[in-house]
Symmetry: C2
């Protein structure tokens, strides 16, 4: 569920982009479970006004375009009007083989920490234009072994901490390996934070964070046909806590991330 003023502003996103994003965050959740999406419902709570019907059309069209891209059927929902801000509630459904949904709690010591794509770009346009990693998830499920997965929605630092904590393991990040987006570099020139701080702490990357056995990860990193760039950024270990190795040495990392206000 996304709400105006909390998750988006209507002067920053078009209604099409709002509809697209409402579905995209759901598809990202399905990808994080290794699911193949099948269907979605759209429930709208629209602000009463002369443009309300047109807004409903644009929100739905923005969602439908993304749905079509991933063979998702829009199968239901609800349309309401009130005097409050816009709220869009999407439920997406997908399938996994019984008992095999990826959880965040399955990481094991020795597993490689893998991320898709590049991190830290959400201050730019990435947070609404991102592609949910459905194709990557389907390819991973078909050809590789995944012990744990989640999508990075609150920043790598915080989400990696959550995965490690849920799995009862620690995590060692190799800071130099973290794939930092050009947008993070660009934003970093304008504020007091380094690109890696953006990559670790910015929310809404919507990339996959994976725990994979080292052998399966090795093979993935050499797979020229894989649909998205993947990077090994460290490994899970028995020593609890979140650690970062930099040229200056190995330091404990305080999990910080983006918490929605």
């Amino acid at each position: 569920l996304i709400a105006e003023g909390t998750h988006f502003e209507t002067n920053e996103l078009s209604f099409r982009q709002i509809g697209r994003k409402a579905l995209a965050v759901n598809l990202s959740d399905l990808a994080a479970m290794g699911a193949t999406p099948t269907a979605a419902t759209f429930s709208l709570l629209l602000t009463r006004g002369p443009n309300t019907p047109q807004q409903a059309v644009e929100i739905t069209e923005g969602g439908a375009e993304l749905a079509q891209q991933f063979n998702v059927d829009i199968v239901g929902g609800d349309t309401n009007v009130w005097n409050g801000p816009l709220v869009v509630s999407v439920t997406a459904l997908g399938t996994v083989p019984i008992g095999s949904a990826w959880l965040r709690s399955g990481a094991r010591p020795g597993d490689s920490i893998i991320v898709t794509g590049e991190l830290g770009g959400s201050r730019g346009q990435h947070h609404y234009g991102f592609t949910p990693r459905i194709e990557a998830a389907i390819a991973l499920r078909r050809d590789y072994t995944v012990h744990a997965a989640m999508d990075i929605s609150d920043g790598l630092g915080l989400d990696l901490f959550r995965m490690a904590h849920a799995s009862g393991v620690g995590a060692d990040l190799d800071a130099a390996q973290i794939p930092i987006s050009r947008a993070a570099h660009a934003v970093s020139q304008r504020d007091q934070h380094s690109p890696i701080e953006h990559a670790l702490q910015d929310g809404e990357d919507f990339e996959l964070l994976l725990a994979m056995p080292a052998e399966s990860a090795d093979r993935l990193l050499h797979d020229a046909n894989f649909p998205v760039r993947c990077t090994r950024i460290g490994r899970f270990s028995e020593e609890l806590g979140l650690w970062k190795t930099t040229p200056e040495g190995r330091v404990a990392l305080i999990p910080q991330g983006y918490l929605h206000r």
Copy 2:
């Protein structure tokens, strides 16, 4: 999706009742399709405040209690906090044999018009405490023939008009047969509307409106084991329009009902 100030007021309903109602209206929709409900998701947009966590628990518990009653699993959802009014968005899933969902467009001339329960009671407590007609729908699907169905959410007059219109038929109501709730009689003593006006025009009855072949309806009306009272209130006909037969004769009925503001 139900929203504070539009679909309910928090000084009229407890948070448990809000959670129950959010699911109940969805289960009523499933019953109207002749579906067996299986699962539901709850997405909450809570008003920020000291009691927010407690409210989330109570809303979810109210929903879970009804879910359990109908063997519905709560399988997902989302929890958000903002400074606006409370919004509860529920998606419910159910199953029907492929291609056999009841629609509102299947009524045929000669079909009996059947309603479950009693009408006009929504000004009382019925609009949040009602039992969705899941059991009746399952029994109807198993033992009877249903050509068209919907749940009465905007008043019998308006919803019967919609069914007749969608089916390309007319409808003849036998006014004396309409089952009027005690609550409608009680409210009628306090306002300028007759009990039958309440039964025809009040919203949120959440009873089933059915088009059934006359023979199947005859059998239903003699079924002592059927889970809910059913009443034949007229028949569908080839003559388009909505008609009401009263002791004074047969008059055209102007479809009026409850339209959510």
